[in-house]
């Protein structure tokens, strides 16, 4: 028994050294060497300033930017140190209230009728609370508002959305989507 105990402890320590120290450190080395941009968070800079990560959604509330999805991460949403979904179930009264209020807000912001259809991703929180994307339909719904706020022609904004639609990988993996931060950066670039 003593021998087994000693073997257990020694084996654990050796394996910890290899799997818990050597392996992650060497992987970090390779990652930094070959894919340093991705390994460090796919950060995006604008005028020399880091404005966010391509992969991490951020709050856009103003009329002049495309708005992203509702977020349950942190108290105010899009808290990238506190990823989370709402975890509200399909018969949750609170969820239904949230969705109704958000849909009304979307319709109001975009001058739509009380009964206009709203894309579900625009009124439902993502799993991570950090979803960087919205559906093309959710982007198109906001075109009129943004064109007005920025004094641009609608077809200009529409063309920009079309240009920023990402297609499914390999043709069948994932849905069509638009990266909100990328799209808004392109919007800013257009205004200049």
């Amino acid at each position: 028994m003593l021998k087994e105990i000693s073997t257990s402890i020694r084996m654990l320590l050796v394996l910890t050294l290899v799997l818990g120290v050597f392996y992650p450190l060497s992987m970090t080395g390779f990652a930094q060497l070959f894919f340093s941009s991705q390994a460090n968070g796919s950060l995006i800079t604008k005028d020399g300033q880091v404005v966010g990560s391509e992969l991490i959604g951020q709050t856009f509330a103003s009329d002049a930017y495309f708005n992203g999805r509702p977020s349950a991460a942190g108290d105010d949403g899009y808290d990238a140190t506190s990823s989370a979904g709402s975890n509200l179930g399909p018969t949750s009264e609170k969820l239904m209230k949230n969705i109704t209020e958000r849909a009304d807000q979307v319709r109001q912001d975009n001058d739509l009728s009380q009964t206009a259809m709203v894309p579900s991703d625009l009124v439902m929180a993502s799993g991570s609370g950090l979803d960087p994307h919205i559906s093309p339909a959710a982007a198109k719904l906001q075109i009129t508002r943004i064109a007005k706020a920025r004094g641009l022609a609608e077809n200009q904004v529409d063309a920009l959305v079309e240009k920023n639609i990402e297609n499914p990988q390999l043709g069948f993996l994932g849905d069509k989507r638009v990266n909100v931060l990328r799209l808004n950066l392109a919007l800013d670039a257009m205004a200049l």
Partner: protein, 568 residues
């Protein structure tokens, strides 16, 4: 819709195409001569043996094997517990996290990771230092998977050896599987994940100024090296709270596809390996066939329920899909549904969408799969020895029906083995039902609920099912970081893990001692279509008999209420 069907078919084809050669390779690792590959790996493994004082020439009987396994896991848990409590004094802690807040949370996490459960009562990015993630969690991601695989390999030895009480050497099985299978594949996966956007660094959290001028702090860390083994070892404990829904863990639909493959390849390869070792590949194909059959039934139920969506939301002029709460746009419905079904068919428990927000019947699928014991491919090793429980029960029932002594692979199955098999079946079931019942009538249990009505019961049921089945996914609305849940789930995880492993090692030991009789005219074939259907049928019948009442009070009644438009 069409692209989702393409996804499901392509996934199955690619899975088989990888698992077949991997199964051959693993047969070589554990049962072969290993002349070529061994030359490279053996010297590395000998370093481990020498440093740990292992005699590679000796083998163990089942009691010695179980003792070594349990001791190793006990020290693993103690070590992980201590790291968490002292992380403030350890290096690689750029956020200056204090020691993990409560002792019961640290205990829960330690037990969770050694049992391959990886239940997350903590939020990774707000609680754990990089040192804890690496030397604690990443290590146990490897070792709990290797422990499971060792049991499966020992079980196969028990079935295929004759007239011996030896079932292998735990240390050799552990080290071989880690060095020759887990580590090489993890390295490849890690680099691929980083290329796609998974982060791998030791930076402090980055604070950026967003386009609208607000500040956003973004969590960092050595994620990719943990992500790969998290999937490959069917562990499922995320670096971040949101797990594989987090864009830094699972940035693209392609990484999502590869993560799903990574969950299933070793469990399926083990089934093929079993066929190879028994010198009759059809033995493996029959089991794999039953698994695929059950898998596609489960996937079909989940996917159609999610696509049908939520009639309450339909009435609010929200366009489809109406079951999109908790899902990510980059994955959409198909990749979310497939991931949910896979992660709970196996004992992975990583999530790329929040299961708490699934439609009731959509949420019933992960729940039921875990209740059945995760035998549809299942966890690394655990899936194989789990399905063996049902295989032996099937053989036993068929034997009773035709009035012959049941036998499997030429070995008689007698009262002694069946007693242990029934223990391995009953211990998890009883654990799930008793703990859930206790939680749903106690204040401490009800205090954690995030949802009312039948969904609340589902949250409790899901927690204990997930813990006992060593899955680790959650209806995460439940506040599980309380004394009650931390401790009760710890017990459930231990019972669900070792309450199955120990009886099955006993079966392995007992089977190894038997002679192998040549099959005769009256021998029941355990290959082919009939056996496949019987096996799947037995799994569903036992599952339904045990759990239907509980499911009826949770997801099933909630589905009816949702259709009627009732909310809580």
């Amino acid at each position: 819709m069409f692209s989702d069907m393409t996804l499901f078919v392509v996934f199955a084809v690619v899975l088989i195409a990888i698992a077949l050669p991997l199964g051959r390779y693993m047969t070589n690792v554990f049962f072969g001569e290993n002349k070529i590959v061994g030359k490279f790996f053996l010297p590395i493994e000998r370093i481990f043996y020498r440093l740990a004082g292992v005699n590679e020439k000796t083998e163990m009987n089942w009691r010695q094997y179980a003792t070594a396994l349990i001791l190793f896991n006990v020290f693993g848990a103690v070590f992980l517990f201590l790291i968490q409590l002292s992380q403030q004094a350890l290096p690689l802690n750029p956020q200056n996290f204090g020691s993990v807040e409560t002792w019961h949370l640290a205990l829960n996490t330690a037990i969770s990771f050694i049992t391959n459960t990886n239940w997350q009562a903590y939020g990774g990015e707000s609680t754990l230092s990089y040192f804890t993630q690496m030397t604690g969690l990443t290590v146990q991601n490897f070792l709990s998977a290797a422990t499971g695989c060792a049991v499966a390999v020992a079980f196969i030895r028990g079935l295929t050896r004759k007239s011996t009480h030896l079932i292998g050497n735990f240390w050799l099985d552990l080290v071989r599987f880690t060095v020759r299978v887990l580590l090489p594949i993890s390295i490849v996966l890690t680099l691929f994940f980083v290329q796609q956007g998974v982060i791998q660094n030791f930076d402090t959290y980055q604070t950026v100024q967003t386009l609208e001028g607000a500040e956003q702090t973004i969590a960092m860390g050595p994620v990719a090296s943990q992500e790969s083994i998290k999937m490959l070892g069917t562990n499922g404990g995320g670096f971040f709270n949101a797990n594989s829904a987090h864009p830094f863990e699972n940035p693209t639909p392609l990484t999502n596809f590869v993560q799903m493959l990574a969950i299933f390849i070793i469990p399926l390869a083990l089934v093929f390996m079993f066929g190879n070792v028994t010198k009759n590949k059809k033995q493996g194909y029959a089991i794999a066939g039953a698994m695929f059959l059950m898998f596609f039934i489960m996937l079909g139920v989940n996917y159609s329920s999610e696509i049908n969506g939520n009639p309450i939301i339909d009435q609010m002029n929200i366009s489809e899909p109406t079951s999109f709460e908790g899902k990510e746009v980059r994955f959409g419905m198909g990749s979310s549904s497939l991931f949910t079904t896979i992660t709970t068919a196996a004992s992975c428990g990583a999530v790329n969408n929040m299961h708490d927000s699934l439609t009731p019947l959509g949420g019933l699928v992960p729940l039921l799969q875990m209740m059945l014991g995760e035998i549809v491919f299942g966890g690394v090793g655990a899936g194989f020895y789990g399905i063996m429980v049902y295989v032996l029960i099937t053989v036993f029932i068929v034997g009773l029906m035709v009035g012959r002594t049941p036998e499997y692979l030429g070995k008689k199955i007698e009262a002694k083995e069946m007693k242990f098999v029934m223990l391995a079946l009953l211990i998890p079931s009883v654990t799930i039902l008793l703990f859930s019942a206790a939680a749903s009538v106690s204040d401490a249990g009800l205090a954690g609920l995030n949802n009312d009505g039948p969904h609340g019961l589902s949250e409790i049921l899901y927690a204990f099912t997930s813990g006992t089945a060593n899955n680790g996914s959650a209806f995460a609305g439940l506040t599980a970081n309380t004394v009650f849940y931390d401790l009760s789930l710890s017990v459930a995880m231990l019972l669900g893990r070792f309450g199955v492993i120990v009886p099955l090692l006993a079966v392995a030991g007992s089977m190894a001692e038997k002679k192998i009789a040549p099959s005769g005219l009256g021998t029941f074939e355990t290959t082919g279509f009939t056996f496949m259907i019987l096996l799947a049928g037995i799994v569903f019948i036992i599952g339904a008999l045990t759990f239907l009442p509980a499911l009826a009070l949770g997801p099933i009644v909630e589905q009816v209420l949702m259709i009627q438009g009732i909310t809580f």
